[in-house]
Symmetry: C2
Subunit: 661 residues, 2 copies
């Protein structure tokens, strides 16, 4: 329920001096599309070219739908849209940022196509590129980029999804034949939910516990053939995952390996190798660090899924906002004319903060993509340092979690806001809801990802204290040993800097203007820092309480999750504010400013209980924020259609002929 | 995000003196099943008998699935399960309460079957029974109850769903032939989303604007034949709504009427009639009151959908809680054994308050069903009075809204809590999510229903003041003229009574025990009353502000919605507390008490910002409530599996072989 205050006598918020900005839709679209406008245009054109897939998806049977999706994926590959991430030497575009932009734009269309693209070119191709070396690149990358060689990414098992380190598939080195022997010891260790596995993959990148001469070396990746000319190879057994909530154009499968032998060169040996004689070696000594470094190279998948969620939200909002600007129901006074849905205060409250959040997440995703591009485009002689990589991984995890939850929430609200019509598949929400649902789970379960974010914050925090007890606690939180590469971060100085920037000194929280973006940032930074030190103190207290570490962690965990959530919300706001501040004065800036205020204040409003509890929000100010959110909704309402049009979702992707006229 | 407080040094909540109750699962099941245990047993047995439909629904094509669903509905009719609502004279069971119990139990199974049952026996049969007279009953009810005559309920039009009074279909009386002429003036007036229409209905109850001798008499219902021997009749055109998000076993259709003539007797004339000469008459003079009285007789549909949502939630929780009690992921300490999901604090926070809310809503639904039964079973010479009927309608609207939103939220959370496995159709969430999604929209859009609830509260409130200005405002809120049957209600005295019952006098809110159910009730009553008077004051202020009535209403609307939400949450809590108090001391009472506390405190926690803002919750107490909710989750955790088992969802309805073992 929306929070409401109920002093009926306060004056209505003043709109003195407010001038509604003129929205130049093409200019706003250009701002959203950013430096990859050309890439996004190519992706949009490709979507339109295959627009009939949206209707075919409803009528084709399962088998035909899967084949159709494969054909579209291969057609996309021919246009170059799916190859931006590969080196030019292998027929790719050599531009990581462009590959994310191209991928996330696919979220406007059939999401089975998008996910199959992600599996083939992102997960499978990305693993070969990042974990393999030149021999693998030369052998496979050109055919992967062209779609001539289809593959899958066989990491998750039935028994272990989130806890990748505990996978049970075994790869035992046999020095006699210089081969690895891949084995699935039991059904819990079968590879599960693997996209492309049920039908189309010829090759798999298989993650397995490497065992050399009786010694365990942890999870490593291997190239394992699954099929030749469509026939499953001996020793490999493949099952079909069957019907799913959505994404039924993707052939998810299960794989069992019965002593499948692959040559020594099948090990993707960027970070570790086994010699012919069976000597294991790695440039990274610490096995944990090695594992997380390997996984870290696969971060693009998370960046991509987060972006996909954000873009799927744009489709839903475009339909719901345009419908609400046409649909009338109930006349309020005695006039015969019924009122437009979007003129109802409650309807504005339902849709417009979600619209503002979508803009915020879009620009946060842009910053994330830039960081990804910078890290993965760094010259080999000057690679990104470990801290920068960790920061990227944390931001990717957090943005993926918030972006995909936002998608679930937004699509659902938009469906309901279109009533019974929204329930018809022709009106687009059926596929959007069903297909995006798993985004909160795959590429890292959102809850696990937020723990990863918190782990990073606590590691830095403990490092700042250089306190071994704290470090112990952090170990407990993260459920895995923590790297000793700890360093002071800027977290503790952030808040002081903001306080200095705002009027009022220690009274900044009560004297700053409600529409001052420095105030919004200071509030979210205060919350994050307060929760960070609070979690650390709780951990200390819990370790001394005599509880088992399992129970102690269980008690602190919800606080850990809240901290991570606050951190990511702060990153999102900072990205949005930075974008706003960098714009030249004018109507475009005023438009972004409105959305930024609406985003920030509705985030604060949603957690106003916490801010009041922690002395940073007075009751009067809290009520004033609710009034401001109402007022901002009214200001956004007249430009709402322009704001969704600027997303540039092609008309053909919206369908909804009856809703949109 | 869950709210967290962060003073790490407070003592952990004491569990001194707490003894975990032993749960007698059959006894708890008996408490849940209540007086209709036999009816529910019949319904469960029928579900098990047709359990293979759950898997067939995935493999059958559209056409075959619809026929299969129809066959199951007809088979159910043969067992008597679908006929409890009809009089014994027509082969029914003559027990309204039993018909709701039988219906809502169907929510454990395939929901297309449930909805088709609802359309045929509830909406279509119910309209004939409630709006028709003996001639209609004699002509149709026996065949409707047996399933020999299938029909549909043609109310909603493309252009008007929520605003039923504005329907555009016309029924013009032609005295020359003593017939009504039914016409669809344009596409916006076509009947839309009508269950049973696309394929199976032979007859429709059609809602249309009655016009007699050029005079409009508002919406009335007519029996109109659609098909004979499966062939659509002349003048009738029927389209198929096509694929939907879910419920694809139900044949929803669109209907156009081109001057279709039906005899004068086709008017369902319980509340109005037209003589052969064309004289309109009604025992209810006020047209508005007549309309709402007619609609009010159809309230059972809302009661049924709310119950269905609550029961669908039980299926999802049963799967997710049992899975979380088996599935291990990550080891917290250095032991090899990974930790059960349900031992994680965050996982408890995700699932266990939803479990408590489900119990609360179950018992609130029981109270509602009793009221429904009492009103509709009252002897003709001593019918329920108007106030009682209004109260029933309001409670039905509110419970439907909260129960169906709860279903959407719970099923989604449970799906995510089962990870990737939850995404597979075999694990039940696919159908649950897709099929229940429209519950928030059909049988009254939830937002519109909450406005109906608020309308009732404001009408009573204005009546208490006997202030014409207030009445004007209420007219504006409700968007329709308000009945003048106003009366003082108990609302204003409720709060005083509670305050007297609690220790502490005016300090009750700070001195009562956190686990005192009188405290919980007093908090929710305080909120409701405060919001009620606040909305009234806002309306007064808005009318004097110079805003148009549309804009004024738009501004007040979110407060109106919050008020209605608070009112219904109060009713739900009261029902749960009453159930608890009536139990004899013992483990069963202790079990219900735990759930009641968890439900109440997590409702208060979720709106703690409001309570702090309005001076009824101190910061310290707010933090203590969060700790109590955590503590209650830990206490519920060991008995959680028993609590879901007591729902009595047949094992065959859960599927999920791999999740549940």
């Amino acid at each position: 329920m929306s929070p409401r205050e109920d002093v009926a006598t306060e004056p209505l918020p003043s709109t003195d001096g407010y001038r509604q900005p003129d929205v130049d839709v093409p200019a706003l679209s250009a701002l959203l599309d950013g430096k990859y406008a050309d890439v996004r245009r190519l992706a949009r054109d490709n979507l339109v070219a295959h627009a009939d897939l949206l209707t075919d998806a409803e009528t084709l049977d399962w088998t035909a739908y899967r084949e159709r999706v494969k054909d579209v994926v291969l057609a996309l590959a021919q246009t170059g849209q799916t190859g931006f991430g590969f080196a030019e030497a292998y027929g790719g575009g050599g531009d990581i940022g462009a590959s994310v932009a191209a991928f996330e734009t696919l979220a406007f269309g059939d999401l089975s196509v998008m996910v199959k693209v992600g599996v083939q070119f992102g997960l499978f191709g990305g693993a070969i590129a990042q974990l393999g070396t030149k021999r693998h690149h030369d052998a496979y990358l050109r055919d992967i980029a062209s779609g001539a060689l289809l593959g899958c990414f066989a990491m998750t098992e039935t028994g272990h999804g989130s806890n990748v380190q505990a996978l049970q598939t075994i790869a035992r080195y046999d020095p006699a034949t210089e081969e690895f022997v891949i084995t699935t010891p039991d059904d819990a260790a079968r590879k599960d939910y693997i996209g492309n596995a049920a039908l189309h993959a010829e090759l798999a990148v298989v993650f397995a516990q490497l065992e050399v001469a009786g010694e365990q070396h942890g999870v490593h990746a291997f190239v394992v053939p699954l099929r030749r000319d469509g026939e499953v190879l001996p020793g490999v057994r493949i099952g079909d995952c069957g019907a799913k909530i959505g994404l039924n154009g993707v052939d998810n499968g299960r794989i069992w390996f019965d002593n499948v032998r692959v040559p020594r060169a099948a090990l993707l040996n960027q970070f570790a190798d086994v010699s012919a004689e069976g000597i294991y070696s790695s440039p990274i000594e610490n096995p944990n660090r090695r594992f997380f470094t390997m996984l870290g190279t696969l971060v693009q998948g998370r960046v991509s899924v987060g972006g996909a969620g954000i873009n799927a939200s744009k489709v839903a909002l475009t339909v719901a906002v345009r419908y609400a600007d046409r649909r009338r129901q109930f006349s309020i006074d005695d006039s015969a004319q019924e009122q437009l849905l979007l003129d109802y205060g409650q309807h504005q409250r339902r849709l417009l903060p979600l619209l503002a959040h979508t803009y915020a997440l879009h620009f946060a995703q842009e910053v994330l993509t830039e960081q990804l591009h910078a890290v993965f485009s760094a010259p080999p002689d000057n690679p990104a340092d470990e801290h920068t990589r960790r920061e990227l991984e944390s931001r990717a995890a957090g943005t993926k979690a918030l972006g995909t939850w936002h998608a679930s929430r937004t699509i659902q609200e938009c469906r309901e806001a279109c009533g019974g019509a929204g329930y018809l598949s022709a009106n687009r929400f059926a596929a959007l809801r069903a297909d995006t649902d798993v985004f909160t789970t795959f590429e890292g379960d959102n809850h696990v990802l937020l723990q990863l974010v918190a782990k990073g914050l606590l590691t830095d925090y403990a490092g700042a204290f250089e306190d071994l007890d704290q470090l112990e606690m952090v170990r407990m939180v993260t459920g895995m040993a923590v790297e000793t590469i700890l360093e002071k971060t800027a977290v503790h100085t952030l808040f002081e800097r903001i306080r200095d920037a705002l009027p009022g000194g220690d009274q900044w929280d009560s004297e700053a203007g409600l529409l001052d973006s420095r105030y919004h940032q200071a509030m979210l930074r205060f919350r994050e820092e307060h929760q960070l030190s609070g979690v650390a103190r709780r951990l200390k207290s819990a370790t001394g309480s005599g509880l088992s570490s399992g129970e102690a962690f269980s008690r602190v965990q919800p606080h850990v999750m809240a901290l991570a959530h606050s951190h990511v919300e702060r990153l999102v706001l900072d990205a949005f504010v930075d974008k706003y501040r960098a714009l030249p004065d004018g109507d475009l800036k005023a438009t972004i400013g409105l959305l930024c205020d609406l985003h920030a204040l509705s985030v604060i409003e949603a957690d106003r209980g916490w801010f009041i509890e922690h002395g940073r929000l007075s009751v009067a100010r809290s009520k004033a924020i609710t009034r401001q959110v109402d007022d901002l909704c009214r200001k956004v309402r007249p430009i709402a259609v322009d704001l969704v049009d600027a997303f540039g979702v092609p008309r053909e992707m919206l369908r909804a002929e009856e809703l949109l006229g």
